[in-house]
Subunit: 154 residues, 2 copies
């Protein structure tokens, strides 16, 4: 599992999309302004997200991006893997007994931990995150309302 800033940008952008995409597509320009990420970098990220069918693009005026599937069917692991490209760490190629025994033992331990981290992130969906926030809607809600009217005005 790899969790870099690139993955964070992707998760953040997808969260923005999930939050603001309820009525109509969201443009990358909006996400760019909302999240402070450069437009072209977003394009690169969304190119990767699109090939994994996590988002769906609509061209032309009034276009933008939709989520490719339900927010409940998109896990954090899905997003990170889409942009960050899973790298195999253990050089022995998984389960084979490589050079020394201790090496492979450590690798097995790491591999187990790595799987656990992945499963943890695979278990959290975009929908979970959004709902988790809606649960504690107090001062946060006001921000959302201000934000949507604000972004329309700008």
């Amino acid at each position: 599992m790899r969790l870099s800033t690139k993955g964070r940008y992707a998760v953040t952008a997808m969260l923005d999309l999930a939050l603001n995409g309820k009525n109509g597509p969201v443009t990358l320009v909006e996400i760019s302004e909302n999240q402070g990420i450069s437009l072209s970098y977003l394009e690169q990220l969304f190119a990767a997200l699109r090939t994994k069918e996590l988002v769906r693009g609509v061209r032309g005026p009034g276009g933008g991006y939709y989520l490719g599937k339900s927010a409940d069917d998109i896990s954090i692991a899905n997003i990170i893997c889409a942009v960050d490209e899973w790298v195999e760490f253990t050089r022995c190629g998984g389960r084979q007994n490589c050079s020394g025994g201790a090496r492979c033992l450590t690798h097995t331990l790491w591999d187990d931990l790595s799987t656990e981290i992945f499963n943890f992130l695979a278990d959290i969906s975009l929908g979970d995150l959004v709902r988790r926030n809606l649960g504690k809607k107090d001062e946060e809600e006001k921000l959302t309302v201000v934000a949507s009217s604000d972004s329309q005005a700008a």
Copy 2:
């Protein structure tokens, strides 16, 4: 939270240390050979681990590294943070209401998730990993025996 290959090297090396350091210190040369990591890179990683007191070095012949504290008191998050240096993602500096409202809402969501990932890794200790493996000691155990006698010979 940041989980790069650098952090993986560190965790792997610390695992090696926990596994092989039960009787006497382990040299970086041994870890280097076991895990296929360059000696100087290990030195850099262990310099960071040492300042966080996760390892303790002993110079001279017969020297090497001990764990800085009990394997149960060293979490995976400890190790990763030591070498990878926690980077704050949200530019708004945490909880302030930055430029737009939607931005900070997304940031809050990400921040919560990030904390959750951290807690997950903070909850797994080196000792846990080692014991977890000792539980299923079948063909793995044979490898350990071969390895320790092997590394002594080399």
